[in-house]
Symmetry: C2
DNA sequence: GATGGGGATGTTTACGCAAACATCCGATGC
DNA sequence: GCATCGGATGTTTGCGTAAACATCCCCATC
């Protein structure tokens, strides 16, 4: 029966305590409860104690919906991302969450099932309805472009992994700096040239790393070997490695991330090409396991924590000033030299 | 008049469009706008089109605070966790987010800076004030215990990685099943006994895996070698591996996660103990990279996606029935045989 | 042609909180 | 002793939405 179930629901529902309830018990007005709740001055100590006691007794907790409605802000940042499965996204998210918490902001996650325009558009629509003051997007730029139309006005955005610095506040690892350092490190060791296992085409980061690799080689007057494309996974790195193992003059490999470098190491091992004696390998990311690869991997360290921090700071600054701050902030990288790189066999040919 | 308000809106973009604005433009009542907004029936197609057009023109997006205030629910689940850095947490979180999104729920992240009682308590307090209908805790049980007092009444909880099934709805990987399968696999190959590299003491999962390892050996009447303790990291696995490499009769190792197994592989490699010819190694988790280790790692596959799904389902069920459902749901594991295990040198001694 | 019924739409109201404004009262100054 | 002031507290109001209720009008039925 309709009435029955409704009544049941009312009875069962731990009917939440409101300020009015507290006020009644404490014998004050609800406004005084509000003042105590928000730590406003102008409440005499004895009254405050009474109110606090009443709150405790009733188990009062403020209704954030009403609070947000009144205040017009949620103190929450939405984070749109495609997947948590990549090291970078995951670590960035963690940093964002930590950073936001410090600022008194919560994080609402908005996973996008598939990196298609429709999905992203849908995600943005949902975000628009979400209890969110601003958001951070961790996603490839061309998808963002497609979704821009749906971007709710008046909501601030910061973006990672993108080159949309002309329109948004973008924070990114210094891809060029890192990739350049990796390639130069190998050239400096005496390798004639460097082969590259790239990430997927759609990735802005992958594209930047590949571009820099090419430019660096060209700048040094070295031949540019054909690029091998992977998809970030160790498996794709393995397949790429099998191909590279066939190339007798391949003595140095720069993989666009550590997982693919791991796959390359496995392929080279299987094909009896010793690392680093015959072939040197450099990765990118410096995942925690990189130091335990066989051999321990020389790689480019990314400061994801800093990226996350900057994203949060950027978006909050925009929120406070109510203005967008287009521009790109680069977070520097650092080459971590371990045991997967060495001079080429036969020493420096130069 | 109209122009004036439009200009205001542009200038002062904080001024959000409300249902009333849409209603005015569409020439209907705000209730009709509400009906369209929520897809209620009983609105004639032509009216609906008018309203939708007005929404588009004004860039209307519903105010979720007001909506939540009215409805008494946020359609949001809070997730408390200590760190995203472990494979398990991260993958579980991803599954939770996906699962929740399908149910129309958003996820709010509540990272706990340090796994101390105070931190957890603080997190729970904040959660209580957060716009959250229920929450999911991914955390060691003893911390949860300490924080129970602060658990807001009337908020449903589901827990992962815990043995608190008597009080909460707990979902966990079948740790015992997985660890048992790992140990039995090694014994079945003919190894006399199995050494164990355990996870940190505080971890419930680590404890369960170690207990099962011990019980399984005892059940088979095998000697139980001293346990080596790690901290989940590849580095700690490496240190453990160095120790195990010293043991001449150690032919089989069960590491409590894949990262530590990776470290063990490296140590064994450095000490010239061939895997799997001399020593067999089994991991736990089946991280995506496990198949690319040297050699590809035999490991216990965990279905994190299913754990996340069950957590969300469980907490939503409790939300709907307004009742707690204590009990533990176990998600089965699967042993993935790759190339890091083989019969012991000299064949089966049995 | 009157009547009733039902679908479409409008009006009222309350959700819980906090800003703005109103009131009260004791203390201070002249 | 009276006006004044300021701190403590109370009252009113409205944020945007959606349930509940009210109204209107068209159409089928007799």
């Amino acid at each position: 029966m309709d009435e029955g179930s409704a009544a049941d629901r009312v009875r069962n529902r731990a009917k939440r305590v409101s300020m009015a309830d507290v006020a009644r018990l404490a014998g004050v007005s609800s406004q005084t409860v509000s003042r105590v709740s928000n730590g406003h001055p102008g409440v005499v100590a004895s009254t405050r104690q009474q109110v606090l006691a009443a709150m405790r007794e009733l188990g009062y907790r403020p209704n954030s919906a009403a609070r947000a409605l009144k205040r017009g802000e949620f103190r929450t940042i939405g984070v749109v991302l495609f997947t948590l499965s990549t090291t970078g996204n995951m670590r960035t998210l963690e940093a964002i969450a930590t950073s936001a918490a410090q600022e008194g902001y919560a994080i609402t996650l908005l996973p996008v099932a598939a990196p298609t325009h429709d999905e992203v558009r849908g995600a943005f629509t949902r975000l628009g309805e979400l209890a969110v003051d601003a958001f951070i997007v961790i996603m490839e730029v061309h998808l963002l472009d497609a979704a821009t139309v749906a971007l709710p006005p008046g909501v601030q955005v910061a973006v990672a992994d993108s080159n949309a610095g002309d329109r948004y506040s973008v924070v990114d690892t210094d891809q060029a700096g890192g990739a350049g350092a990796a390639v130069r490190h190998l050239l400096d060791l005496g390798h004639r040239t460097v082969w590259h296992v790239a990430g997927p085409e759609e990735s802005f980061a992958a594209q930047r790393r590949a571009d820099t690799w090419r430019a660096e080689l060209a700048g040094a007057g070295r031949p540019v070997p054909p690029m091998v494309r992977g998809d970030w996974s160790a498996d794709s790195g393995y397949r790429a490695g099998l191909r590279l193992a066939e190339e007798p003059d391949c003595t140095a490999v720069f993989a666009a991330n550590d997982q693919m470098a791991l796959g390359v190491l496995r392929a080279l091992h299987e094909k009896r090409r010793a690392v680093p004696e015959e072939v040197s390998v450099v990765g990118f990311d410096d995942i925690p396991e990189a130091g335990s690869f066989l051999p321990p991997l020389t790689t480019v360290h990314q400061d994801f924590a800093e990226v996350g921090r900057q994203l949060v700071q950027g978006v909050l600054r925009q929120l406070r000033t109510e203005s967008t701050e287009p521009g790109t902030t680069l977070v520097p990288t650092r080459l971590v030299e371990r045991s997967s790189t060495a001079p080429p066999p036969g020493g420096t040919p130069r």
